[in-house]
Subunit: 333 residues, 4 copies
């Protein structure tokens, strides 16, 4: 039974708390949030303790591992603190919005063997994972084209947007990682991007986009397209398509249940797609925790690590340079 | 180039005329209808001749083959006349509504080698045919259950119903034949049926049903279910499902085109199914003619013959006996 | 927090144990099995107690409710004991294989207000439930035909079969209940059935069938078809189709994830269906428990009750009479 | 009855011949090919005449209209000759591989009211057309993203490639036009492209690619992605996806028939997609001719005209500039 501490009790922190509690091999030992009320709400009438500070958590010998779900600006600090304290950490993405800070964090933890897992939950989605496994098994021969579609059901509020570092750092970051997961050893070396506030033109005032198409090339020329929108009226749209020399694979959208409707204007109509990431990736989040527990308990697990967080951000940086220059930009790590 | 005469220029006759004209190996040499205007409309400004009578057609040495699309009551007479005249005939189903008349016709043409093909067009539908071929190739092992769904888009008028001989002789007849086509050598030996006027309760006044479920058993116990309705608001519903010891096959519905709609209440919604048999089975009707031409020109073709028409009607008779008795009734040919 | 006792720690009992533990409003207080090792395995190192006997459970004031997952022959006894002890009970189906015993149990508990819920878990499947809700909301007008397909992935062992009371009492019982759930107030009044050992002909020696088609009629003539097989090589096949005067609804099969494969011989190929009921109906079992907890805590819940268990069995009895007589048999409750 | 002459009797010419003959409002009056045997094969034993030269066709007062399906290098000449002779022309794409030649042709026919239709057949595909109509009707609100997938089943031979002007001029040209068709008045103003010989690396020797991703932007920022491959092992892949502010539309692939297979490794598997354009776009080619006949007979028809051919080529030119420069290139017409 792994004693896990949770830092950050917002929407995604609450979800982590539920998952840790439901998983037989983990226990939610304590929680912390800068807003004490949020931490207390997560504790409820359970036996979870309230930690006075992150420092208290890192210092507590009873804590086996830490999940960081606090605001992005704190991620790098907590990763460094966790590693210094020898506590394995599962940290939400992104590591930081500032690439230099991420590089500094990388330097600070260099050489550690304390496990650092980044919260790229989509790698654990059974459909995406099955696609990756089929790819790796050579089921479609050589991969030539990869298309990742990722559209949120509805745009976040203006407050969120102002602190999120831009759609491509905030939202596309998942797709950069998912693409890298599918590509295996073959890293994107060049990025091109276009983006605009097409759904909410007012976003122009804060220099933000809500629709983007991003194309990447790997060294041998494989083509990757990421396709984002902040609003999909039919639900959270999450698809991966891998085209190969011997076949094609798609990881398709999922509905809540299997009801199909047949009427005068539509046949075999499915229900709207699962909203939102907590529903769509529920299984993925649970499998992510399972992998973290495996990692921490030394059973080995294939998980996204610090370097994956850094490389996804490097792709976002290149995409922003491409948005500004209008040309393909090399990826610098 | 086969010179074909057409008797009967109603809705289905007009469709046959178009198909004969569009097919490079056949020519619509002449047409006849008891309503001269209907025949003239089919002729139009083409070089098709008008025949004064069916007799004139059967006597005309320039006619290579005859398609009979006149009213049901004339079918058996024209089959007998065609055979007597040595003219191959493609006759619309059913042969007759009166089983005794069909048996008499059978006796009258016994021993002939003049080709007599019955218009069970669905055997030529590419999906149904592919299902049959996969079955015959052993793709799903032993067949154990067969389900044929056949629902018309909207009910015919009262006039039609009064002359059609009852839904099970008029509409289900196609499904009896399709089931036999799928079963191969293994004939249904027992039929049970339930039916009621569920969509239009007024049909009770003319002792007619508009929804039916019919279950048949073959000698080794294979189970066949036919499932009919005179009204399907989402379009013409035509499906076959074959369950086997090693897999399942379905011949699914078809839409006019591939548009899918995704919105707030429905995703991946297809358009309504093709209405009606002329649209849904367009390809089947064309392939039916191709087979008829092959048959007439001695190239061999697997087509439904007189005996198939008789056996489909025998199943309808057993179904009506079962409706009356409430029990499984043996099939008598 | 509801303290629940579990009687019976076989495959389905273990699943109930997991669900009770994972649900925040319930606690697995104690377990019992005639095989002590099975109960101990469920206890593991948890704080669940081992009960020496069912009687000890019924007598324990700390137990709020009981789940019965022991062998069928004990169900009616435990229901009676639970009711006598004032303990709400969720009992697996069927109540008993002997209809007379079920009637005796009905008499024994007559007049009680102790909640008795029968484990017809499929009523809680989100797809089936959404279909029922759409039906009840009049989305497809008047229901005219209902088709329930239920095929197990692979046949049970001979030992199981010898004690299961026949496929129609053991397996179809779920479909009888599901049909009744969809029909609402309109009860089937007549049943006809055909069945045979088509997959494993050896079953004839134990007078058992492995494929069946059962057709039921309600008083106003609605038509219901149940379609069963003990083996479906493509996975657990669980579908409901409801045909109405204004549209059609289908509750379709579910796959483990959304991977689609496209290759030289197949396109858009899904993965095999979820095997078996524990996987396919995982959500349904959890929602069933949620409803039970609601029921016990007086919050109201729409659940299958004793009378539903009795009526499903009455339909099975009529089906067996129909198998023997070859005719439609009236339903006697 | 429109008397149509056909110039060019290769694969696509033969298809046009069949369509002209099958269409009741047109007659294949005469044919010409530089290879007399090809023209004779099309004539067969029909009443179609053989024309000695294109000039003879343009001079023949009995010819109402001309279809040009000869090699690309002749297209502009024949368009000019047809216009000069006052003969309406349906010319296969592209107008020419050399943009300057296309501009010269434009100048040569400036001011004419002789109908010139370019063979962008995909505009007439019922699925693509229904998508366009739904878009135009505002069904998905404002269009924000458009994705056109176009993958040929297998690569053409080296000879074909050497004369085809590059994949983006030869194959993507259709997708440029299809995108413009969907966009309506809103023209792409900027193009970016990546391409590589990923399937057949040997193509590098002839400076050719076989996989490409092309992204375009319209003035208000709408995003368009074209996605091409010369080989799709699962069949001819032809899809359009339109994402809007209020919904999404997809024009999906089509199979030959509706057979679905269910087995131990795959469920609901469709058959491979229709191969190749003659099969997939059969209906589109027929509807294209119908529109041409409407246009010629003054009944009005919405067809792709010379300017559409020119603008599609201008997009290809910009794409090639982008391939070379690595940056977005403006579109110059």
């Amino acid at each position: 039974m792994l004693n896990i501490a949770l830092i950050g009790c917002g929407r995604i922190g609450r979800m982590h708390a539920e998952i840790v509690r439901a998983y037989p091999r983990s226990r939610l030992a304590c929680v912390h949030d800068v807003h004490a009320a949020a931490a207390e709400a997560v504790r409820g009438d359970s036996d979870t303790a309230l930690a006075e500070s992150p420092e208290a958590i890192f210092a507590d010998p009873a804590i086996d591992a830490v999940i960081v779900a606090s605001v992005t600006a704190t991620h790098a600090d907590y990763i460094e603190a966790a590693v210094a304290a020898g506590k394995p950490v599962l940290c939400e993405k992104p590591i930081d919005l500032d690439f230099a800070r991420v590089k500094a964090c990388e330097a600070a933890i260099a050489g550690t063997d304390v496990p650092v897992q980044i919260g790229f939950n989509r790698r654990f989605d059974p459909g995406h994972r099955a696609l990756r496994d089929a790819l790796a098994a050579g089921e479609i021969g050589k991969l030539v084209q990869l298309i990742v579609t990722s559209r949120d059901p509805s745009p976040p509020g203006r407050d969120y947007l102002l602190g999120a570092g831009g759609m491509i750092r905030d939202m596309t970051i998942h797709d950069f990682d998912l693409a890298r997961f599918m590509l295996g050893e073959d890293e994107p070396v060049e990025v091109w991007a276009t983006g605009a506030p097409l759904i909410d033109p007012d976003l122009r005032k804060i220099d933000e986009v809500d629709c983007a198409m991003i194309v990447m090339r790997t060294a041998p020329g494989r083509q990757v397209m990421l396709n984002n929108a902040r609003q999909a009226p039919y639900g959270y749209d999450q698809r991966v398509e891998a085209m190969g020399s011997a076949g094609m694979l798609q990881s398709a959208n999922r509905t809540e249940h299997g009801l199909l409707r047949f009427g005068a204007t539509a046949t075999a109509a499915q229900t709207p797609y699962l909203n939102f990431f907590i529903e769509r990736y529920r299984e993925a989040f649970a499998l992510q925790l399972e992998a973290f527990v495996d990692l921490v308990t030394g059973q080995g697990a294939e998980v996204p690590v610090f370097d994956d967080g850094l490389r996804a951000l490097a792709l976002a940086e290149a995409a922003y340079r491409a948005l500004a220059s209008g040309r393909s930009e090399p990826v610098t790590v």
